[in-house]
Subunit: 317 residues, 4 copies
Amino acid sequence: MTEPVHDLAHLGRVELLTPDLDASVGFFVEVLGMDEVERVRDSAFLRAWGDYERASLQVTAADRPGVGTISWRATSEAALARRVDAVEASGRGEGWSSGSAGHGRTFGFRDPDGHRMALYFESRYHEAAGDRAPALKNQPERMSTRGVGVRRLDHVNVWCRDIDDNASYMIETLGFRVSEQVVGDDGRLVGSWLHVTPKSYDLAYGRVDPAGVGGRLHHVAFAVDAREYVMRAADVFLDEGVRIECGPAKHAVQQTCFLYAFEPGGNRIEIITDGRLLLAPDRPPVTWTIEERMRGQAWGTLMPESWFTYATPPVET
Amino acid sequence: MTEPVHDLAHLGRVELLTPDLDASVGFFVEVLGMDEVERVRDSAFLRAWGDYERASLQVTAADRPGVGTISWRATSEAALARRVDAVEASGRGEGWSSGSAGHGRTFGFRDPDGHRMALYFESRYHEAAGDRAPALKNQPERMSTRGVGVRRLDHVNVWCRDIDDNASYMIETLGFRVSEQVVGDDGRLVGSWLHVTPKSYDLAYGRVDPAGVGGRLHHVAFAVDAREYVMRAADVFLDEGVRIECGPAKHAVQQTCFLYAFEPGGNRIEIITDGRLLLAPDRPPVTWTIEERMRGQAWGTLMPESWFTYATPPVET
Amino acid sequence: MTEPVHDLAHLGRVELLTPDLDASVGFFVEVLGMDEVERVRDSAFLRAWGDYERASLQVTAADRPGVGTISWRATSEAALARRVDAVEASGRGEGWSSGSAGHGRTFGFRDPDGHRMALYFESRYHEAAGDRAPALKNQPERMSTRGVGVRRLDHVNVWCRDIDDNASYMIETLGFRVSEQVVGDDGRLVGSWLHVTPKSYDLAYGRVDPAGVGGRLHHVAFAVDAREYVMRAADVFLDEGVRIECGPAKHAVQQTCFLYAFEPGGNRIEIITDGRLLLAPDRPPVTWTIEERMRGQAWGTLMPESWFTYATPPVET
Amino acid sequence: MTEPVHDLAHLGRVELLTPDLDASVGFFVEVLGMDEVERVRDSAFLRAWGDYERASLQVTAADRPGVGTISWRATSEAALARRVDAVEASGRGEGWSSGSAGHGRTFGFRDPDGHRMALYFESRYHEAAGDRAPALKNQPERMSTRGVGVRRLDHVNVWCRDIDDNASYMIETLGFRVSEQVVGDDGRLVGSWLHVTPKSYDLAYGRVDPAGVGGRLHHVAFAVDAREYVMRAADVFLDEGVRIECGPAKHAVQQTCFLYAFEPGGNRIEIITDGRLLLAPDRPPVTWTIEERMRGQAWGTLMPESWFTYATPPVET
């Protein structure tokens, strides 16, 4: 057995593209309760109150919604060097750039499906000051009590045309592990949940893109502390006129409590809570069949059609 | 910078000593909602419904309460070998034994203060059958709805005579990292919270033993999913006549929501929930001064004197 | 303005009919966590741990599922006499009987649709003894920690052929007040939520029976303390193989958090929590249109077809 | 048995006196999440998002903290007339005034200890408009997501020199019922919890004033929906620098989950949640002895000395 690689620490930042920058930033600030920390040209950088880094979300003006760069923090400079070498060797590297909004130098690459990703190690910790300074020094800043008040960035779920191919790439080149997966009747993956932390997933290849498009986003997820807060988020969305797609309910895969909704730019976001930790170093992936997945979510919830067909950028048909 | 070691996966099992085996087992089964899976001579082996291994708690008949062996699971056979080598080199090794209740071969040692510890890698996963088989295959068994229904073993907190010495040993020899610590006015540690998982702690050297005794236990902790369940645990304890020492309240150090009580054998147990994850690979320890600790817990809760003076085995004075 | 009548205190007991008495009682005891306190011929009498009376649920063997007698406790003997007089005057009275399982003499009647109802005042308070005696004297007995552990009977929802007619009867003859209602395009009621307590409803005429049958039951509801416990109930149902119909989610009408499932006899039960109190003495009913109701429940949840078509006894078609 | 009186509907408004009006209003708006709806001379009128009336809290500039008028809404004009007659007959009436901030004409009186109280029936319902209009028409306005976001005014707790005398007055003259009480070794009341709603208390004579002063306030309480939100309130208070006195914990008397803190004017406020309803029309009061009360709160929590000795206005010693 090859020993597991521990070179990636966690998902560090997700960049969302939006055709309406002001509305999207307004949503993340006023409704989700995040803070804008910096604006550079067409990008706003935001953070949740529990994120230790300077910015975990980049919102960038674009013609159409979708996902920009998904950034992963390495566990050390040496780890970063090892992963960059591996990516370079795979031929998918796109070179170094200076990092933005607190990130040090950053190495870009694309997964086989074309999603832009990046690796970095150097990171500026958030320093809360003034009326945002927390009462307890083991907290990055005061708890946000605006709207939903999400605690931290949790994971990203993207679609691709060949999940076997993409999951293998992330596993072999970056050191991701598979926690759960869905296998189709032809033996090929139709869903793969991958992690580098003991959270049950940090990245999901959620579905074989039914439109056959590359590089699309299903959703980006933000965590709250308990299931009650997922329900409270739905209450907030209801009052604020945010379009809820489905939930709160409980996923069968991973058992997370979920709520899906749309930010004004058209991207799907998820509010999530998950108390489970995958501490076993050798737990084999849990594999679900299509038949098992047809039973719906944990409590029998059936997802609406849009959840299976809509990703960003949307496909005109 | 030396790269961090990832050779230990998590706390695997804690052995509690009790002068009243039946009463102690009754408490863990009926009040905490755990299951007894095996009994070998004077030891009962138990598990919480969310633990993936066969047994996470060993309760052993003894003259006096206290802690027996604290077992840590390695991340691989190679990792186990590396840590055994390191322990051997430190002169604290006590040799191999065949493991019990699902554990493969196990290497024993003592920390500098004399707490018995063990390392193992091979472990039998729990297989739930019959009416304990879970509805969802990504869960070890059905949720326990008996009493508190704790989900999993969380951490162990022990006292020792020299925290600097013991914490250093666990860091250098086993690869623990420090998440938070309290430093006395003389610059020496008076508390150290150590972890091998991204949970904020798996082992705490909670206090310099005021009685100067070696190898004592402050408490062993079991996790529930949300703060509401810590309060529900207090409701259960109240009705069942369990002696509550303090809580529910929120620790300042680590911010966990806690409830302390005593099992019939005299050992202190904690019901805990903690949604925080320490995902940063380079977060420096949070260091608290004595003055800061004098302010009480997060919400100002002052702990009773027993919490500062009672550990097991108790000291006759 | 005529002053409001305060002659009924609360819903006291619901009788469910079941073709499988053992299975139904097993469900209420093992899954919902209620206690059986008495068995008389074909009827089992049960209670939830927070109910102050001896029994709040009667489960009776019958050929088919459905609802038997729905009993309302009067606020005093004088109040009972007043309401009996009013019922007698309406021509719907069915005379006195000795009460069962803790109830004193009881007066039976039928609502216009034919649902059997009863009025009583004398009632034996539950006295918990032995290991069911509570720690706090202001609690009827120890909290149940078996399965869902419902706290108390909450309300009953029945269908009828003419809601205007039935609601008027309950309002004018018994002193119920309307909290919310749905009015069809023809100006006639298609739903009416009625209460005698400041809970937002104790009795609902939930729907004009699409099959035109009389005396049918939509569901009987049991309360838990918080929304988290409605979700926990769904977790318990999942593991126990109970068929969940829909939820947890939040009703638009009344805003209660709900979970619908079926007991083994075929009757629908609801697990509910509701923190709202209608304290205003003069709040006009909230009236919803069909169009508003088409938007689904509060968070957009669409109920499955069975929820609109299935009541007990079921109609063979 | 005389039939119970139902002439008072609920606690309608509490007036707090403060030496720092701006700071006090700032606390209720920014920290508790209430809205200021009107300011008249030295008084600010505020409401919680779930209160159906225009204003449930009046904050008035004064030399010292304390309680002003405690207002009770009658169930009808006829009920108001009956209670005014009863008060007049008791010789404690202080005449009619035009009501403030949404209240119609109001009749003032003092309880035997000198607390100012008032009765009214006419009341202007809150009408939320614009971005405060709720999504669901059965809700007075959008949920407040600012700070704690309290849902509604719950109860008021005052001290007096003779609890037997004051409780009897409120029972006999106004129709209050006793839910729980503490009786001293001399057979006299040392605490009495009174209600006109099925909530377990709306008014408490909490303690025989140890300083022998008249008309003092122990606390005014605001309700949230679940125990988790009482804990969240403590998190908010911690970050905002609000002085927490004790809690969150669970009262033995009434079993409510509590959190006590001080607003900047010096008055004690309580954040509370209570899922219990006293639906029994004939439940005798639960009577506690001094010895039982010495055991502390439900989970053994011991209250700090200030809780037993501090009321407003404070007594200089």
